[in-house]
Amino acid sequence: MKLGNYIIKRSLLMLLVMFGVVAIVFAIVHVIPADPVGALLGGNAPPAVVDRMKEQLGLNKPLFIQFIDYIWGVIHGNLGNSIQSGRPVVQDIMEYFPVTLQLSIVAIFISIILGIFLGIFSAVYRNKWIDHFSRIFSILGVSMPVFWTGLILLLVFYYILGWLPGTGQLSLFVIPPERITGMILVDSLLTGNWEAFWNGLRHIILPAAVLGYAATASIARITRASMLDVLTQDYIRTAKAKGMSKKVVIYRHALKNALIPVVTIIGLTFGGLLEGAVLTETVFGLPGLGRYIVNALLNLDYPAIMGGTLFIALIYSLVNLSVDLIYAMLDPRMRA
């Protein structure tokens, strides 16, 4: 199959999947017997008030019509108004998402660097103690609950040692940079606000480290496996036989080819990051999309729940789609 056709096919498929995703989200919120109006007004509001509220929210229409209305809204970029904030959900998402994005980007850098190095060490020193150590170290990362690791790191580095700042994005005394992208680090760089940049960087270290460490294991595992594959191939033996140094063989010859499969895992890793972001944002008090969704869920703010989960699913699917496309470009066998 030609690359162009593959891209078109995958994109159409994704449209179909997104339609199903809307249906799932809608079903979760409307079919499962939670009572958003009750949550909003309290249990013993008079029936007349409840009815009026239902009418206002469009909850008195038949489910099917509500679904069509919602789809129509989604197509036009309208996800309804959040019950809690009273603002359009889209506007809320645009405000909260940059925080999550910035956190995920820093975290994924950490996990890629850490994961690839651990993977190389494991493969080169296969079944030696370095291998065991780096495998246990990376598996430990994916085994510790991120919310707990976050709390412990806060306890140690903030409360006990005082090396790093605590929760939030910036300290209270720092003037936040003018909002351009919504990402504090980027905005402070763009406006040349070095104090905010430095302060923001110190704030993001702990949550990004927690999140990145948790995502390291899968990258390390796939790097190890694929390095082991590559290291046994003929051209590596030839390179060694030519008398090239171990470093050159490993980093220049082997690593390049070993990294191709690693690309695929990064998409999956991103899903893990989004999950972890929900928890780290809660622990570190970051105003990101994850915390927005948790708050919406705890308060049964259903337009926000639907909008937030939908948006996360969209981002996740887009990342996976682009990873698949990149992979198809790198490896033509995948286009089947």
């Binding site: 498929l13 799932i24 979760i28 499962i32 939670a34 510790m144 919310f147 412990i152 999950e275 705890l298």
Partner: protein
């Protein structure tokens, strides 16, 4: 006489035993898997017999002993309601075991049945199933589980339902792939020729062949199940206090973190050790099953 029968039986089954022996040998050689297995075994034993030996009631409050640091009376200290954290951690193990077992049965079962049907019949049935799994896989697992759990209402049963509803897709895909391989085998052809019906072929001859890959995958995912349950508990969307669920216990101690660090710390360590056990076991299993290493 009996001995003869036994040795005859052994002789017939020799290849199977050899295979098991080889697997056992590989398992022992894979150090990480051995360590993981031991951790998991200890966890299960503690969950089953632990509650008989805990020094204090894990649920009843005892305000005069509140917020005590770890000591010989209370190994892990006490929480803000005076409950012994050691007893709560030990009793909590059973809750995690329950979650693992029931989630595995539900999601594995749904996945196996739907996967086998889709793989065997193909065509429209298959297309519908595959697109449905695509839709479920478009969400990061925890996010979807959070939504299910919040809408169903926080409780142990709903946690189990939510995690199962999210997890079945992987098993469905596995079972489907396996069923597609099996259905074209000559022995299925011969059973058909003998006049066996579809129900019989699927339930007695195709499904059993698909069970073992699903079982292996279930084992690989048990760590994730615990982490998801604990995360739901931590966020207040899962198992509710006073039940000693580990994630909820970590959350309990959050406001006391600085002065009374032990409330959050010990349940978290319990989660980390058990999940580490499952993950080491899973990693080892992957190594053992890798044909390149299986020589």
């Amino acid at each position: 006489m009996i001995l003869e029968k036994v040795s005859e039986f052994m002789e017939k089954r020799k290849p199977i035993f050899e295979d098991w022996k080889h697997t056992f040998y590989l398992w022992r050689k894979t150090k990480l898997a051995t360590v993981g297995t031991i951790i998991v075994l200890i966890f299960v034993v503690v969950a089953i017999i632990g509650p008989l030996f805990v020094p204090y009631d894990p649920i009843v409050q005892n305000m005069k002993d509140r917020l005590q640091p770890p000591s010989f009376q209370h190994f892990f200290g006490t929480d803000q309601f005076g409950r012994d954290i050691f007893s709560r951690v030990i009793s909590g193990a059973m809750i995690e075991v329950e979650i693992i077992i029931i989630v595995s049965m539900i999601s594995g079962g749904i996945g196996l049945i739907l996967g086998v049907l889709a793989g065997y019949f193909g065509g429209v049935v298959d297309e519908v199933l595959m697109r449905t799994t695509d839709m479920f896989l478009a969400f990061p697992g925890l996010i979807l589980a959070m939504a299910f759990a919040a809408m169903l209402g926080p409780s142990l049963i709903n946690t189990i339902i939510a995690i199962s509803l999210v997890g079945w897709t992987v098993f469905a895909r596995l079972a489907r792939a396996e069923a597609m391989k099996v259905k074209n085998q000559p022995y299925i052809e011969s059973i058909k020729a003998l006049g066996a019906g579809k129900t019989r072929i699927i339930s007695l001859h195709v499904t059993p062949m698909c069970i073992s890959p699903v079982l292996v995958q279930l084992t690989l995912r048990m760590g994730t199940v615990i982490l998801t349950a604990a995360s739901l508990g931590f966020l207040g969307l899962g198992v509710r206090p006073p039940l000693p669920e580990w994630g909820a216990m970590v959350s309990d101690g959050r406001s006391f973190l600085v002065e009374q660090w032990w409330i959050s710390t010990f349940p978290g360590i319990a989660i980390a050790i058990v999940v580490l056990g499952f993950n080491l076991l899973g990693d080892g299993l992957r190594d053992i099953m890798d044909p390149r290493l299986r020589r």
